[in-house]
Symmetry: C2
Subunit: 103 residues, 2 copies
């Protein structure tokens, strides 16, 4: 049960899974892109959540020396191992939606 | 992404997954048993979380006419469909623990 908690410590909260899902769909993504992908998240909250995901080695942040400087986010190899789990959650979400609403 | 959120709405928070994991291991479980299984949860919080899981049709609450009256909790058929997901989370938790601590 401890290991399930280890996983949930990383994924918990309202936004983490949504951010990881957004990054699953693209190779690299800018802050402003993710802000559009994850509907309803604030600038400040996205910044906080991205930092936590970076500390947990789920995402990688890269500075690109353009004019103006841009910042890219992408899933790390470790972060990509979450993909099957997120697909599993999405599939279960469909089942659950049908269970609750569909009858 | 909406369907992932549907799943996370049910599973989010500090305790839900731990409670479901505890119920995965047993056919039926009393309130006081779950209180022991889920280390650190308060009486009041367990009561709140169990109610939410019941509303989402993940668990079933049964009154048993014993002396004194006892209350059993068990996973519904719908709740049991979460089992592979929880096993997936546990397996990923092991990988993540090694990634962060293991080097």
């Amino acid at each position: 049960m401890r290991t399930v908690q280890d996983a949930m410590d990383v994924l918990n909260g309202k936004w983490k899974i949504a951010i990881i899902s957004a990054l699953c769909c693209f190779t690299k993504r800018r802050f402003s892109d993710i802000l559009t992908d994850v509907v309803g998240i604030s600038n400040r909250m996205l910044s906080k959540e991205l930092k936590e995901l970076e500390v947990n080695q789920i995402i990688k942040r890269t500075l690109v020396d353009t004019q103006p400087i841009t910042v890219h986010y992408e899933l790390t190899e470790h972060g990509k191992t979450l993909q099957p789990l997120i697909e599993g959650l999405a599939a279960w979400g469909v089942v659950h939606h049908k269970q609750i609403v569909g009858k």
